[in-house]
């Protein structure tokens, strides 16, 4: 199943950005709705304990600093993932200093999803992705997830993680080869 990538803003990025700078709620909500699933998926694939809360923290920072951004939609996407990547690094350091959270014994029953089939498929896909990403090198995982989830180019990924373009390419190749080998060894059907 190939998912068609589409423009998050439908060619209206400049108008949305200008409205968001004035504090228009519709523009802010549109920015959040267009990019927050990818950011939350990045955090989820990285194994963050509370990806939704960290995603909200990222977008608070993004929306507060809209006046500082200058560029197009692709640049804005790269800028958002740059902030998300740095928040992820902060979260890793923070979690290293704190004890792991203990889940509540009596968890509330989640509401039944509207589309149970889609929800089950997403849950299985998340488990498989996390199982694979846990066996990758952190740098390879970062590059592959940024390229897939963020839809970033090699140069943009290099700018996000602070490495050279050649290093990003090398990490990408090694990650690709590692995933292929792991899938062949485990025989896990995707």
């Amino acid at each position: 199943m190939a998912i068609e990538r589409r423009d998050s803003f439908d060619g209206e990025f400049d108008a949305v950005l200008a409205a968001a700078r004035t504090g228009a709620p519709w523009a802010l909500g549109r920015i959040y709705g267009a990019l927050s699933p990818a950011v939350a998926g990045l955090f989820r694939a990285q194994g963050v304990d509370d990806p939704d809360d960290l995603t909200s923290e990222v977008f608070v920072g993004v929306l507060r600093k809209l006046a500082w951004f200058d560029g197009d939609g692709a640049g804005f996407r790269s800028w958002v993932f740059t902030i998300a990547y740095r928040r992820l690094a902060d979260e890793r350091r923070r979690s290293a200093r704190r004890p792991p959270p203990v889940p509540l014994t009596a968890r509330p029953e989640p509401a039944a999803p509207d589309d149970v089939h889609a929800e089950v498929e997403r849950s299985l896909a998340t488990e498989r992705v996390r199982a694979l990403c846990d066996r990758l090198a952190p740098a390879q995982r970062d590059v592959l997830l940024l390229r897939v989830l963020g839809d970033l180019t090699v140069d943009q990924v290099a700018g996000v993680i602070g490495k050279s373009r050649g290093a990003v390419k090398a990490l990408q190749r090694r990650g690709y080869a590692a995933i292929a080998l792991l899938l062949e060894q485990d025989g896990v059907p995707l």
Binding site: M1, A2, I3, R5, A20, G23, P25, L28, G29, Y32, G33, S36, P37, A38, A40, G41, L42, R44, A45, P51, D52, D53, T55, S56, E57, F59, V60, G61, L63, R64, K65, L66, A67, W68, E121, R122, A125, R128, V129, L132, A137, Q140, L145, R147, V148, L149, D151, K169, Q172, R173, R174, Y176, A177, A178, I179, A180, L181, L183, E184, L190
Partner: protein
């Protein structure tokens, strides 16, 4: 152990990898070789194909537009204060809760140890340099000198050495800014007999006797052995003054030991041109080192009268104050030309006439030949009865001084 990233020895060409990756990311139709990676990409995108997560209250406030989404409208995430160096912190106004001394202490505490050490080293270097150059005030110089002498094995030139140096500079006529010619000729009354003999009356028996006189060891002087090793030089070869009168008043010629300290002319040049320690010679007293009076002064004073051969001049202790009362309180300094009668007997007083008319003193003993040594040590002149003041006890370091406590030109021997 194989590293984690080196598990794939046979890497395909990078172009092939890059093309397959880009093809999978675009979602194009994938071949069998990259089908596994394509499925991974699809699975990741399915994972991310979710509705937006529920925003946090802070984000919800921002999204609702109730909070201006600008940097100044900080709502949820408080901005961390930037930790700057305390050295660059601005001084808080007086209304601040933190007092100024506390802030200064904080700044000092914020300086690293290396910085503190550098500051201390710089201060110590500056203080040492200042003390050595003498630009610091005297108390500060003294303090620094003491500190250096305590913590280091070195000894800086002290006050006594400095004073001695000053005396030496004053001794030198040229150094003192005095015309040597103007001061070279002392008054006839204070002119030593030996010079007078060289100038005009070389056959004066008194002069010859004085010139040939050997310093006799004094029982109280432990420098007698030195005196034997260093005989008195022949005064015939000493420089003379051309127009020296030969017939001077007896009372003016006699007391060579009573030559004025500021006579300006070294009357008895000799080998003992050591450094005159402070207190042993007045600033104006001529040095017995020849006409230059100290220009070639050796580092160690071989003055036999001191009884401490080889001791650096700068290390001598200052002279003890002279006993007050009596002529021994340096009458020569006060009455240099008057030929002070220092005693009733023929001792010093009779020697005054020895160079010209009087009989020579016994073996040159007495102030005329040995200067103040006799009087400086025991005060008993063997040539005659000593003056009452000459019997005053003296400190060992004062033995080389004349009756008045000064090392007179003749007494330097």
């Amino acid at each position: 152990m194989t590293p984690r990233d080196d598990r794939f020895p046979d890497m395909p060409p990078s172009v092939q990898f890059d093309a397959a990756i880009e093809q999978a990311l675009r979602g194009d139709a994938l071949g069998d070789d990259v089908a596994t990676f394509g499925r991974f990409v699809d699975d990741v995108r399915v994972m991310a194909d979710r509705p937006p997560p529920p925003p946090s209250p802070a984000l919800a406030a921002v999204l609702a537009g109730s909070v201006v989404p600008h940097e100044s409208a900080s709502t949820a995430v408080p901005r961390l204060t930037r930790t700057r160096s305390l050295l660059h912190a601005r001084l808080t106004p007086p209304t601040s809760r933190r007092s100024r001394p506390a802030l200064i202490r904080l700044r000092v505490a914020a300086v690293p140890i290396a910085g503190k050490a550098a500051v201390l080293l710089a201060v110590a270097t500056a203080a040492t340099a200042g003390a050595a150059a003498g630009v610091l005030p005297e108390p500060a110089t003294h303090f620094v000198r003491r500190a250096i002498e305590v913590v280091t094995p070195f000894e800086l030139p002290g006050d006594d050495a400095r004073a001695g140096h000053g005396a030496q500079r004053v001794d030198h006529p040229s150094a003192a800014g005095i015309d040597p010619d103007a001061t070279a000729m002392p008054p006839a009354a204070s002119r030593p007999a030996a010079i007078a003999a060289d100038a005009g009356d070389a056959h004066d028996p008194g002069v010859e006797a004085n010139a040939d006189a050997q310093p006799e060891p004094n029982p109280a002087d432990d420098a007698s052995g030195w005196a034997e090793s260093y005989p008195e030089p022949d005064t015939s070869a000493w420089p003379t003054t051309p127009d020296r009168p030969t017939s001077s008043p007896p009372q003016s010629k006699g007391p060579k030991k009573a030559a004025p300290p500021d006579a300006g002319l070294p009357t008895e040049p000799g080998p003992k041109t050591g450094h005159v320690p402070p207190g042993h010679a007045s600033p104006g007293s001529p040095r017995p080192g020849g006409p230059g009076s100290g220009g070639d002064a050796p580092l160690f004073d071989p003055d036999p009268s001191t009884g401490r051969v080889g001791q650096p001049a700068g290390k001598r202790r200052p002279a003890r104050p002279e006993p007050s009362g009596g002529p021994s309180s340096n009458p020569a300094r006060e009455r240099p030309h008057d030929g002070p009668t220092r005693g009733a007997g023929p001792g010093p007083g009779s020697n005054k006439e020895a160079p010209t008319s009087g009989p020579p003193p016994a073996a040159g003993h007495g102030p005329s030949a040995e200067g103040g040594r006799d009087h400086g040590q025991c005060g008993q002149s063997r040539a005659g009865a000593p003056g009452p003041s000459d019997c005053a006890p003296r400190a060992p370091h004062d033995r080389g001084r004349g009756p008045g406590g000064d090392t007179g030109p003749a007494g330097a021997l």
